[in-house]
Each structure stands twice: as structure tokens, then as C-alpha cells.
């Protein structure tokens, strides 16, 4: 029982990271209908900027975070303006493959600029783990969980309670009608790309100290985050958070009790089983296919 509890506590950090990454993915999907497969690469790029802020500009970690967050907002916006906006009318598969191309392009460019040697990023909150009696949780993990919950809460409140959220939901429900009703569709889609990439970048800033930073750092994380978003029902913010923690905890329990060799495989087996029982994810609604 004690080991079980410790596995649970040890998995919340990565759970939060998957949840945060999935939130960014889901936000973009909700308003623009595009699954942004480049989300991991874009987040790695922002983290490279964070590293450059600390090690090239020699600013403090806090200021480097601010610079990197602003950079992430700009990167997300540029993707939308330069690429996705131009293919807005193309079938959705084409838009998805466009983001796959972008994934390679961004990874390649960060590789050329910063190289593939792993780099270190400082923990946001270091120091000893908290707890006793065999139960420990890292301070950094507490920060990750807290930040994830705050971001999710703010997003949910904005979506459900504010005029901006109403507009975003209108765009998600029917873009054409929303435009006819005078909703500034372009602005909302742009904002969701900007903020979505920024939120996924936050997860990358948090994971970088745990695994070392490289242009391909987010590849595995992105796979888990994508699975988390789907598990949660792809389109549900609560679902993304729950999905992230479920995937994180499942991965850790599988590694602890069954096998580290088959960790990834078993996580996917679990997801397939869940999807077979609930074809629209844990929190998804059986909606008509979005086209």
C-alpha cells in the first residue's frame, strides 16, 4: 500500500505536465478544429528561447520565463497567420499534415540553431522533497500540479463565464454562423493559437529540468499528451486535465508494477480499452463528426 501511494505521488508531476500540454492542444482544436501535431516541437522551441535567455542573455530565471512566454505567444500567433489561416478552407487532413510538416521544420530549425546536445534548465522550485513516513512529493511537482489546476480553472472560467469564452464557443460550434453574428472569428482563432502554444510551452518549461532539453525533447511527452487529450474526449478542458493525470498515473503504475519495457505499449492498450468502452472518451459528448 505504501509503495502504491508513493507511485501515485511520484506520478503527479508528469500527470500535470501531460495535462498542461493537452490543454494547449485542446484549446487550439476547440476553436480552429485543427489538431496541432507541431505542438511539442513549438513548445521545445519556446524552451530553447528560455534556455537562451538564461545562458545567452544572462537574465534571471524569472525574466527568462517572461521572455519565453511572450515568445511562445508570438510563435503560436505566427503559425496561425502564416500557415493555418492560408489553408483554412482546405480539408482537415491537409491542415493536420501541414502541422506535421511544421513539426519537422521547427525541430530542424531549433536543431540547426541550438544543436542536439542536451541542455539543462533549472527547476522552478528546487529543494528537498516534502513528506515523511515514506511518503514524499517533490516541491517542483507540487508547483506543476498547482500551475496545471490554476491554468485549467482560469480556462474553464473564461470559457464558461466570460464574453470571450462565449465567442470562442460560438466559433467552435459553427464558424460561419458566428462570423455572421458579428463574432470576430479571426481574432479568436488567432488568440487560441497564441494561448494554446503558450500553455503547451509552459508544460515544456516544467518538463525540461526532468528530462534534458533538446529540439526533440517533447516527442514522447507529446505522444502521451495527445493520448491524454483523446482519452478526455478531445475538446473537453476538464477531460484534458483528467486524461493527463490518468495517463501519468497509469504510466507510473505500469512501470512500477508490470514492466518498464512495455510501459508505452501498455498505456496504449489501456487507452484502447477505455476508448472501446467509451468511444467518445471519458468526457466527450457523442457529437456529430466535426468537419
Amino acid at each position: 500500500m505504501q509503495t502504491f501511494a508513493q507511485y501515485l505521488l511520484g506520478s503527479v508531476g508528469f500527470g500535470g505536465i501531460y495535462a498542461l500540454a493537452a490543454l494547449g492542444l485542446v484549446l487550439i482544436f476547440k476553436t480552429s478544429g485543427v489538431v496541432n501535431f507541431a505542438f511539442g516541437a513549438l513548445a521545445s522551441l519556446s524552451t530553447m528561447i528560455l534556455w537562451a535567455g538564461i545562458h545567452r542573455l544572462h537574465v534571471s530565471v524569472g525574466i527568462a520565463w517572461v521572455i519565453a512566454v511572450v515568445a511562445a505567444l508570438i510563435i503560436g500567433g505566427l503559425c496561425e497567420v502564416l500557415l493555418l489561416e492560408r489553408l483554412r478552407r482546405a480539408p482537415i487532413t491537409i491542415q493536420i499534415v501541414l502541422t506535421l510538416g511544421l513539426l519537422l521544420l521547427i525541430e530542424g530549425i531549433s536543431g540547426l540553431v541550438w544543436g542536439y546536445t542536451p541542455k539543462g534548465i533549472p527547476l522552478v522550485i528546487g529543494g528537498k522533497s516534502i513528506g515523511g513516513n515514506g511518503f514524499f512529493i517533490a516541491r517542483d511537482d507540487i508547483f506543476i500540479v498547482a500551475l496545471t489546476l490554476v491554468v485549467a480553472l482560469v480556462m474553464t472560467v473564461v470559457f464558461q463565464r466570460s464574453r470571450i469564452g462565449l465567442g470562442m464557443r460560438a466559433v467552435a460550434a459553427d464558424r460561419e454562423t458566428a462570423a455572421l453574428m458579428g463574432v470576430p472569428v479571426r481574432r479568436y482563432v488567432l488568440a487560441s493559437w497564441s494561448i494554446g502554444v503558450m500553455i503547451t510551452s509552459l508544460s515544456a518549461f516544467l518538463v525540461a529540468p526532468k528530462v534534458s532539453l533538446s529540439p526533440t525533447m517533447m516527442e514522447d511527452i507529446a505522444v502521451f499528451a495527445f493520448a491524454a487529450a483523446v482519452l478526455g474526449g478531445f475538446g473537453s478542458l476538464v477531460g484534458a486535465v483528467v486524461g493527463g493525470f490518468v495517463v501519468g498515473i497509469a504510466a507510473n503504475l505500469i512501470a512500477g508494477y508490470l514492466s518498464t519495457n512495455y510501459q508505452l505499449t501498455l498505456v496504449f492498450v489501456l487507452i484502447v480499452v477505455v476508448l472501446y468502452l467509451r468511444p467518445n472518451g471519458l468526457f466527450g459528448r457523442a457529437a456529430v463528426a466535426r468537419q
Binding site: 478552407r89 482546405a90 491537409i94 499534415v97 501541414l98 506535421l100 510538416g101 505522444v223 482519452l231 468511444p279
Partner: protein
């Protein structure tokens, strides 16, 4: 989700002649290539790679373009085919090549059937994550099932043989892949004209309408996955011979993305498109290996540029040009996308 239209109204006879001329040209170039470049093993190997990738891209296009199903795990099926061929050749070294190929294809088809089973309930992103799971799981299983797969080192692929003839030289492997791919393309082309092939497209366009026409939607989808896996397995066996080795590292997730990109860059639901898309991306990839670090930039750049300029993929170029020429005036009024059928 509907593909760029392939038939051009009017000039149908001309289009047919052009099609046959193109097929003839491809076959002549394909047959003559090693006669001209036979001494240059590097060029022959790259050409073989283009052929094998074209076949795998077509197998994925069956699923994505003709069937309207998404797959992010085609490399997993390719890996099964590759390992199956390598394993059986290791056990029975004198096995005739057609038997080996059939073994790889059948084993991969079974995997495809299993993958196709939940598709009755899953679509869109849910299907994407299931196929993604396959693509990620297969290399991991190959890495750990050491008794069969020899773990990280992988299996050496013995040369294929027909009777006493060993197909070991790059030119022999080239012709082997060329013949198998040509036969597969003919089979796929014919299949698409049958009742089953048309059922694939009917299900893609509307599941409800297809069901109303008496098509068993679920069975059609499972067949589609099985057929796609069959040809992916053949491609995987050829892939193994091309590389002389199958190892878990040879089938990363990015390989699945590569095939998907080749389908879309070439043009969905177009066989010539898949061939062109695969060749373009293989060349973009192999021609940049001398510039370390530029590979992903060039491949990614090609994908992004092609889609920005011609969203329907390269196969849409002739149709787009003809339509622009024939109804320029009308088109100016409708400033829709270049990809016809985008709004279906």
C-alpha cells in the same frame, strides 16, 4: 475529407491517353534505370527506396485517401511485414521469395484485421490515437521480444531467392521491388474498380448513405484495414531487403508521419500522386544527408510549401491548371480553395 477530383469533364479520351502514356513512361524508366545507372549502387539503392516507399505510401493512401480513415501507425505494419519476412528467412533460408512475401503479407493482414476491429466504433481522433498506439507499440515490442526479434540489434535479412537464384545485388533487389510494386499497384487499381473498392469510397463519403445502399459499413472498414495492411506488409518485406536489416530503430513514429505526409503531398486518393509524393520526399530526405541537420528542415519545408501552394497535393496540379484555363472567368467570382471538393 473528399479528395481532389481526378476526372476532368470533357477531354476524357485525351486524359486516358495521357494516363496510359504516363504509365508507359514510368514502366520504361523503371525498367531502364538500372541499365543506365547500374554501376552506381548508391543511385540504384535510392531508386529502390523510392519504389518501396511508393508502395507503402499507396497502402496508406488506400486507408486515408480512398477509405477516409486516419492512420498514424503505418510504420508499425511495415515493421511487422519486415520482421515476418526476416524471421521466416532466418528459419528457412532457402524459402522461395514469393512464399516469404506471402507470409509477411498474411501476418501483417492479421495485424490489420485486429487494428480494424474497433474502427466500427472509433473514428477521427480516436482512431488516430489507436493507430498511433500501434505505431509506437510495435517497435517497443520488437525491442523486448528478444527471442524472436533479437532486440535492439535486430535481424539481418538474408537475400531473397527464387530457386537457386539469390537476389542479393542492389540491381537484383531493385528489380525485385520494382516488379512486386508494379504488380501490387495493378492489383490495387483493379480492386478500386470492384464492388469492394467502390464500397470503400462510399463509406468515406457518407457512412449513412453507404449503409442505406446496403453496404455493411463495419465489414467494409475492416476489409479496408486488412487490404491496407496486406500491402503495407509486402512493402515491409521489401523494406527489410532494401535495408538488409530490420531493427526497432528503423520504424520510428516519424516514419509513419513521413508516409502520411507523402500521401497528402502527393494528393489523397491518387495512385500517381502517392508515387510522386513518396519520390519527392525520399529525394528531399536522401539528398540532404550530406548537410547534417538540414534533413528535417528540407522535408518539413517541402511539405509546408507544397500544401501552401497546392493544398490538393501534387496530383491536383493538372486538374487545377485545366480548370483554371477552362473556366477562368467563373472561378474568379468563386474565390474558393484550389482543392476542389474541399467543402464536401
Amino acid at each position: 475529407m473528399s479528395p481532389a477530383s481526378r476526372t476532368v469533364p470533357g477531354g476524357r479520351a485525351a486524359a486516358r491517353i495521357a494516363q496510359w502514356a504516363m504509365v508507359g513512361a514510368v514502366v520504361v524508366i523503371g525498367v531502364l534505370f538500372p541499365q543506365v545507372y547500374g554501376q552506381d549502387f548508391y543511385a540504384v539503392t535510392i531508386a529502390t527506396e523510392c519504389i518501396v516507399y511508393a508502395l507503402i505510401t499507396i497502402s496508406l493512401n488506400l486507408l486515408v485517401g480512398y477509405g477516409g480513415q486516419i492512420s498514424l501507425g503505418q510504420a508499425g505494419l511495415v515493421a511487422i511485414g519486415g520482421y515476418a519476412g526476416a524471421y521466416i528467412l532466418e528459419k528457412v533460408p532457402s524459402l522461395p521469395f514469393p512464399v516469404e512475401l506471402a507470409f509477411a503479407a498474411v501476418l501483417t493482414t492479421i495485424a490489420g484485421l485486429i487494428l480494424g476491429l474497433p474502427t466500427g466504433r472509433l473514428r477521427g481522433h480516436y482512431l488516430a490515437v489507436v493507430t498511433l498506439g500501434l505505431g509506437v507499440a510495435i517497435p517497443q515490442i520488437a525491442l523486448n521480444l528478444t527471442s524472436i526479434t533479437n532486440g535492439r540489434t535486430g535481424l539481418i535479412v538474408n537475400p531473397a531467392s527464387i530457386g537457386s537464384l539469390a537476389l542479393a545485388s542492389p540491381v537484383a533487389i531493385y528489380y525485385m521491388c520494382f516488379v512486386v510494386t508494379c504488380l501490387s499497384v495493378i492489383a490495387i487499381h483493379s480492386l478500386l474498380k470492384t464492388r469492394t473498392g467502390r464500397a470503400f469510397m462510399a463509406v468515406r463519403d457518407s457512412e449513412q448513405a453507404a449503409a442505406a445502399m446496403g453496404i455493411n459499413v463495419q465489414r467494409t472498414k475492416i476489409t479496408l484495414f486488412a487490404v491496407s495492411a496486406f500491402f503495407a506488409g509486402i512493402g515491409g518485406d521489401l523494406f527489410g531487403h532494401l535495408q538488409n536489416l530490420v531493427a526497432p530503430g528503423a520504424f520510428p513514429f516519424s516514419l509513419s508521419l513521413f508516409f502520411l505526409a507523402a500521401v497528402i503531398v502527393g494528393g489523397s486518393a491518387s495512385l500517381p500522386g502517392s508515387v510522386i509524393g513518396a519520390i519527392l520526399l525520399v529525394l528531399a530526405d536522401t539528398q540532404t544527408t550530406s548537410l547534417p541537420g538540414f534533413e528535417p528542415v528540407v522535408v518539413g519545408g517541402v511539405v509546408v510549401l507544397v500544401l501552401l501552394i497546392i493544398p490538393g497535393g501534387l496530383a491536383a496540379v493538372p486538374a487545377t491548371l485545366m480548370r483554371l484555363r477552362s473556366r477562368q472567368g467563373r472561378r474568379r467570382a468563386r474565390t474558393g480553395s484550389l482543392a476542389s471538393g474541399a467543402g464536401d
